[in-house]
Amino acid sequence: MNQSAVLLEYVTRAYPGGVRAVDGVNLKIALGEWVALMGPSGSGKTTLLNLLDGLDRPTDGCVHVMGQNLLQLDVDEAATFRRENVGLIFQQFHLVSYLTAVENVMLAQYYHSMVDKQEALLALERVQLADRAHHLPSQLSGGEQQRVCIARALINDPKIILADEPTGNLDEDNADRVVKIFQRLHREGRTLVIATHDPDLGRLAQRIVCLRHGQIVEECSPDGSDAAPRATGAGASHDRDVMHVTAS
């Protein structure tokens, strides 16, 4: 049996006051698969991504990413896991304001292994930003900042890329550029989990997982051929909840 990139079993993330941002989710994502997490605001997409990258911990259930049970890791071990395995792309870019584009990319290299400026410049070239490498974030457009964020996410050759609304703050041209980058990454065989409101971006994924009130309400293929309304909630059986979609 092929190793899965992500395996969630009955995962719940509850906050004080009883709010369940993620509620009994079971999900399996295969290596190399491109999955889009879709749903209205507050449906739990970002929380689910944070559980996958180890920045947050579930209050119940198990989270396995690249074969690692994240619940077994403390904060620093989770940081080590992230730098070895995960590329993070944020809607708000989160670039360090006093570092240039190339320095922001080198930052991820620094915490991963060792800094290589030429490699960082190549990463920027791959996102068509070689000419903006020495600009500060404040001197870059939103689309350019997002591409720096992507270059930073890719610099350590991560096995899985988690992106939260990567085109949410971009105009159409810049969104197209980012989408093309994702398509290339997918062709290279990387696992992509992208939370998005953008139906155009969602349609490019191999599988769309729809969330509502923290639960998976539907999983389908973008062309609708494999549409499979689901039983949801913590009581749903694992076998029924987890859909296996092999990357093409």
Binding site: D53, V75, R83, Y98, A108, Y110, Y111
Partner: protein, 423 residues
């Protein structure tokens, strides 16, 4: 990359960093200024309080033993003992020589003037004490007794003298008059150059250069006592214990007593230096000085603590908010793989740099501030204090680190996911 991040953080966020450095600088300048003033104020006040007169009196050892048996002195009349004037330069060769501010010998006899007997007091005026390996030390009655007022001039040669104000009025004498002083041994003619007001016995006497009185008294090179003005530290319990029973001190306590310029320890040092002498602390003066200095020291300490607390709180406020506004950056560093120790190291190194920069500036401006206060209050210049040049950066470093650790610690222990969402 670590140093690149540090440097870029300072270069590209310089306004915020300058604000933080300025907070440390200004806050610590007040503290260092007060400390500089505190270090000088005791010395300056001590010098100011020389107006009280001598605080140590040196006499011949036998004369100092005031023992009477059946109403008779043990030292027989006619066997009066004296100190040698030639031994007095030793006062500037003792361990506490730098604390000896001034001294003046005194020899008193009776002389006949205008058919009546008047006290004749001999002392030094503007006397140059010759020292080995040092410039001559200029001292005399005017330095030891700042409250002596001479209308006219001070005697500058063996043919001049002062006349006490009461005697001058009684005999109708004044500057310019020449008088004939006669003793059993000799007589001499001296010119009055000033009228002395001391508020004490000298108002009834002729006060002449020591050599004149020695010659008239037939006691060349002899002095009856020496009045000494010395910089001393207020006596504390240790000094009081020594005063009550020197044997009660442990060797370590005795060492501390000897190495502290208490009036008693300075007096003991003087006594050991001058053969056949006995040094006595003039309690009235020493205790008044001690009481005033003790209160000033307490006041300065209290002020220093208040200013240090106020400055520390204000510095902590600025530095803490500087860290808190970078919580998103902390979370991002953790998101890209930084461990909590990595983040702490980065922020604490920044804090160390800010603290040291502010501290070094404060070491300089604080001393300038302290010097200015000293000039305004005491009309006196201050010397730079080396200890403050080290203390200020050290304090700056400690305060900056103490201010940065709690917010960074709290931030790295918060959930990075929430911080990235700006919650």
């Amino acid at each position: 990359m670590f140093f690149r991040m540090l440097i870029e953080s300072f270069v590209r966020r310089r306004s915020r960093k300058l604000l933080a450095v300025a907070a440390v600088w200004i806050g610590l300048s007040l503290v260092i200024g007060l400390l500089a003033l505190g270090l000088d104020v005791g010395d300056k006040l001590n010098r100011e309080m020389r107006s009280f007169g001598a605080n140590i009196q040196l006499q011949p050892a036998e004369a100092a033993v005031d023992v009477r048996v059946g109403g008779y002195e043990l030292v027989a009349p006619g066997r009066t003992v004296y100190l040698d004037e030639a031994d007095l330069p030793r006062l500037k060769q003792i361990f506490w020589r730098n604390n000896i501010l001034a001294f003046a010998p005194r020899l008193t006899t009776q002389a006949r003037l205008a058919g009546r007997s008047v006290p004749l007091v001999g002392t030094w005026f503007n006397h140059h004490v010759l020292l080995e390996d040092a410039d001559p030390f200029v001292t005399g009655a005017a330095e030891v007794f700042p409250y002596w007022q001479a209308r006219g001039a001070w005697p500058m040669n063996p043919e001049s003298c002062l006349v006490g104000a009461a005697l001058a009025q009684e005999l109708d004498l004044g500057p310019g008059d020449r008088v004939e002083l006669t003793t059993d041994q000799r007589s001499t003619s001296v010119r009055i150059v000033g009228v002395l007001t001391s508020g004490k016995d000298e108002d009834e006497a002729i006060v002449a250069p020591l050599s004149v009185v020695q010659r008239l008294a037939g006691l060349p090179g002899k002095v009856a006592e020496v009045q000494i003005s010395a910089l001393t530290t207020p006596e504390n319990k240790l000094a009081e214990r020594y005063g009550r029973d020197p044997q009660s001190l442990t060797p370590a306590e005795y060492e501390r007593w000897v190495c502290t310029p208490y009036p008693g320890s300075v007096a003991a040092d003087i006594q050991n230096a001058v053969p056949g002498s006995s040094a006595r602390v003039v309690r009235r003066v020493a205790e008044t000085q001690g009481a005033v200095l003790g209160r000033i020291d307490g006041l300065m300490l209290l002020l220093g603590i208040f200013v240090l607390i106020a400055s520390t709180l204000s510095i902590m406020g600025v530095l803490s908010s500087a860290v808190l506004e970078r919580r998103g950056e902390v979370a991002l560093l953790q998101a890209v793989g930084a461990h909590r120790a990595d983040v702490l190291r980065l922020f604490l190194t920044e804090a160390v740099a800010i603290g040291l920069a502010g501290g070094v500036l404060a070491a300089l401006t604080g001393q300038v501030l302290g010097g200015w206060l000293l000039r305004v209050i005491f009309d006196s210049a201050s010397e730079p204090h080396g200890v403050l040049l080290i203390l200020a950066p050290l304090l700056g470093l400690l305060i900056a680190v103490a201010a940065s650790v709690p917010p960074v610690w709290r931030t790295v222990h918060q959930q990075a996911a929430r911080l990235l969402r700006g919650v």
